[in-house]
Symmetry: C2
Subunit: 304 residues, 2 copies
């Protein structure tokens, strides 16, 4: 069984868990539950959960413990998309080919569904009684840091602030390190913590995540320019219309592609480092291939 | 020194803590910090923090431990006001006589400032290393439950859903139990947990909080009808214009006043119960007077 197939199995199991997870924590308002479920169910690559699951598998940890944490992370990622799509923010009518939450329901319902996913993600995470108190505190605190006012939301705000001006590439990295990087790095660090991965490998995986996060963002920026609406499922060249700073707009398409390649190489190096130094009795060494495949995925989708 | 003066001292100390608390957890985006500070600083009675502080004082607990928890709660209350005021929600231009956050800044900034206050409240709470891991988990989980998709947000959603129809008084109570009651009850339960208040007294205080919460909501509904714009600091009869179900609109003003009186009596009974049964060596019995004074406050403000 290839690593890809292995992760497909895990991801299918996770998908079932993810949709089921809502009922337990959101039953008191049927409209709210409906809007949360819609937002959570309309596709999504489950990229962040996949990182948690891959790290936990690598560290021979428990997937039953990983799923609720990966789900909480996906709830928070989903809330950020709902709020990001609002008319006052990016004003997107479609996401992954489906009407955005405020188009399907209403702006008020979208705001509240986002608030609910964000808040109750912490309930779900802290409710995992088979995790030690220490791990629950670290995981919840880490998640709030990654998503909060020195993390994702700060990145969002600086991104909006930057719309009216041309940024330097350093400023753009500052934004993306927070806006998308923080949750991606959290996914890996949560997996390492859950599976008690040895510190050296954890450090290398976290560096991998940093490069992966940047690669992911550059890839995302390029996708809007390179692909058309039908392929990306959202309106083409939207960022450009909004006057957003992107890697291709600041560097040009070719240098941005080059930059992406470099980040992928740097990420690959970290995985090689782990492969050459880890005590193989403590980890599932085959799962390292998943991290490499994840980089292929970013590459392939750029249309190489 | 009277209880009232005592609480004023504590609240002044708390106010200083509250404003200072932002810097540590929101420094990465100056606009975000500015909007969070503005929203947090424009008045507010600090009603929920006051409940935490009163409970902790009653249980002879540490105020240094109480302040961050009370602040996290106030951050979350403040986020709910910011989002509630948005054009897609209640569309309020003023709160407590000041421009609402989206009027002062922009809708996008208001959405993000709310998201940031909500998320980073959990960082602040979980960061309190002088609290045991068990208390941190209980406090954070309880806060997310009270504020989340089976708590405050569910109440908000049902409130919006109810706008187009006349509710029964039971449905209205269902809404308010979540929309405002949940955070008020959390304030008391957090205080009880922080100060290790004996279980009998905790149960009675929680019942007190339930009645106080309803009294607070009825009082709030009546305020909009009885007072004019200048006194309440927001536009008069706003709820009526929005077609909202309120206690006076469903019951009439006089019966709503009667209802308020009854809730205050039931709350008072719980405090009397504690007074007559508690081991006075374990608590600061004088602080019970604060809970009675809080009820007076609701009474006085109705204009009796």
């Amino acid at each position: 069984m290839s690593n890809q197939a292995l992760l497909s199995n895990e991801l299918n199991q996770f998908e079932e868990f993810l949709v089921g997870s809502l009922e337990k924590y959101a039953s008191d308002s049927s409209t709210l539950l409906k809007a949360m479920r819609y937002s959570l169910s309309t596709g999504g690559k489950r990229f962040r959960p996949l990182l948690v699951i891959a790290a936990v598998k690598f560290g021979k940890g428990s997937l039953q413990q990983a799923f609720p944490i990966a789900a909480a992370l996906e709830w928070i990622h989903t809330y950020s998309l709902i709020h990001d799509d609002l008319p006052a923010m990016d004003n997107d009518d479609f996401r992954r080919g489906n009407p955005t939450t405020h188009k399907k329901f209403s702006e008020a319902i979208a705001i509240l569904a986002g608030d609910a996913l964000l808040t109750s993600a912490f309930t779900m995470l802290l409710d995992q009684e088979d995790l030690s108190l220490s791990k629950r505190v670290q995981l919840a605190k880490g998640l709030s840091e990654a998503a909060g006012s020195n993390g994702m939301v700060a990145g969002q705000m600086e991104d909006i602030e930057g719309e009216s001006q041309e940024l330097t590439i350093e400023q753009l990295e500052y934004i993306h390190k927070r806006k998308t990087g923080a949750l991606i790095e959290y996914a890996i660090s949560a997996g390492c913590l859950l599976a008690d991965i040895p510190v050296n490998a954890s450090v290398a995986l976290l560096k991998y995540a940093e490069h992966l996060g940047l690669a992911y963002q550059i890839h995302n920026d390029l996708k809007d320019v390179v692909f058309n609406s039908a392929q990306s499922g959202k309106e083409s060249k939207r960022d450009e219309e909004l006057g957003k700073n992107t890697y291709p707009s600041l560097l040009g398409v070719e240098p941005a592609m080059e930059n992406l390649k470099q980040e992928i190489e740097l990420a690959t190096e970290q995985i090689e480092l782990i492969k050459n130094s880890i005590d193989v009795s403590k980890v599932d060494i085959d799962t390292l291939g998943v991290f490499i495949q994840l980089l292929d995925y970013v590459k392939i989708n750029v249309g190489a």
